[in-house]
């Protein structure tokens, strides 16, 4: 039986929010690659995810992982209408910053910076937190994400008004709701089933090639 908590190997714990590529170490035993059946491979959606400890742990429930992954991809990648990709990623990064998920924040801050080209603003969000002043449009998206992420949820009509005022249409507002809500799902898995690790410089190339997935 594999029912035990794992001891992580020696590693450097990231202690700040960063756009650097991070590794992720599981606290529970992922499935072994050779034990994956067709059902598990379907659950992984992308076969390459069999290389990721995170996805091989989640694939212990393949049906949920498959549905979750397809939800995720459509919310963030579907190019039809709605919010530009950069700002869906901003909502994910802000949610992760507020919940305190250093791993998720690193991935989605990278995406937000890449798609928006606003590297300094993204770094200010990471360094100073969700109250930092970005610009009217980004402030409204971050504030809406934070209000949705708070428990109890504090998202109200004033957030909808603020998003409309900076130019978001209804489909874009729904994208903010979806992106922030989805990262309340992702953050909780990433935070509670393992921990981030700073890759050693020498290993960096290998981790970028087949690290713990592009998502989360």
């Amino acid at each position: 039986m594999t029912d035990k908590v794992l001891t992580t190997p020696p590693h450097v714990e990231p202690v700040v929010f960063t756009r650097d590529m991070l590794d992720w170490l599981p606290w529970l035993e992922p499935m072994a690659e050779q034990d994956l059946t067709a059902r598990h491979v379907a659950g992984l959606v992308d076969a390459a995810r069999a290389k990721s400890a995170y996805f091989r742990l989640l694939v212990r429930d393949p049906e949920v992982l498959e549905a979750r992954t397809k939800t995720d991809k459509d919310i963030f990648y579907n190019p039809e209408a709605g919010l530009p990709r950069a700002e869906r990623e901003l909502a994910a990064a802000a949610t992760s910053r507020f919940n305190g998920c250093i791993y998720c924040a690193s991935v989605h801050a990278r995406f937000a910076a890449t798609y928006s080209k606003r590297v300094e603003d993204v770094d200010r969000l990471l360094n100073n937190g969700v109250d930092t002043d970005l610009d009217a449009r980004w402030n409204a998206i971050v504030a809406a994400s934070v209000a949705l992420t708070s428990t109890p949820i504090t998202f109200g009509p004033e957030h909808v008004d603020a998003l409309r005022k900076v130019g978001l249409d209804e489909a874009s507002i729904v994208d903010v709701i979806n992106a922030a809500s989805f990262f309340n799902w992702a953050n909780r898995l990433m935070l509670s089933l393992g921990e981030p690790a700073a890759p050693e410089k020498a290993r960096r190339g290998a981790i970028q090639a087949d690290g713990p997935g592009r998502r989360e």
């Binding site: 498959e66 109890p152 909780r188």
Partner: protein
């Protein structure tokens, strides 16, 4: 096909929000598929349907969302939960409610942002009524809901000690994390629906 998010958010077929949700049809379909696979699982070997619904009632209660409490409360009754569970879950919710997210960061510059808050322990009476597995699951759910950045291996050990398998821990973590998403989507869409442009 029935869609739980539409039902809970009050989105009618043919309405503007129905059309917008259809622009993300994969997300819409698979949010429903996530719900179905969590609450109508192919196997109950690692977490029973009844356990899943009981945890959902607790999580809905922690968020203080009446539409979610009513929905999962009905599911609990339909699942044939023991009579004492409803009151035990309500008592656990009452003693567990708080404000999140709080918690600690790894020691370093972010320690200045540490925000202290309670670690929930299921009360003796509730533990008695619900059993050791659900009592441990509620403690885990509380951490995930309010202070997920405090997560650490000993919390997972507590679940395993209470009888959860590794796969069972994955299932209930997915369950609480999914609910954190579902509850927010519903809350957000309800606000938007009540505030037409």
């Amino acid at each position: 096909m029935s869609d739980v998010i539409d039902t809970l958010a009050g989105i009618a077929p043919g309405s503007p929000l129905d059309a917008i949700r259809n622009q993300r049809l994969q997300a819409r379909t698979h949010a429903q598929a996530s719900y179905d696979s969590l609450f109508k699982p192919l196997t109950e070997a690692d977490a029973s349907k009844l356990e899943r619904v009981a945890i959902a009632c607790f999580v809905a209660g922690l968020h203080g969302r009446s539409e979610m409490e009513a929905f999962y409360g009905t599911a609990l009754a339909e699942a044939g939960a023991p009579a004492a569970w409803k009151g035990a879950i309500a008592a656990a919710v009452a003693s567990a409610k708080g404000q999140g997210p709080y918690g600690h960061y790894p020691k370093g510059p972010l320690s200045a942002e540490d925000k202290a808050g309670p670690v929930f322990k299921t009360g003796a009476a509730e533990r008695n009524a619900l059993g050791a597995r659900l009592a441990a699951a509620f403690e885990h759910a509380h951490m995930l809901v309010f202070h997920p950045r405090d997560a650490a291996p000993p919390y997972l050990q507590a679940l395993i000690d209470a009888g959860w398998s590794t796969t069972g821990v994955v299932v209930i973590s997915q369950l609480v994390a999914f609910l954190s998403y579902q509850i927010r989507v519903v809350a957000g869409l309800r606000v938007l629906k009540a505030r037409p442009a």
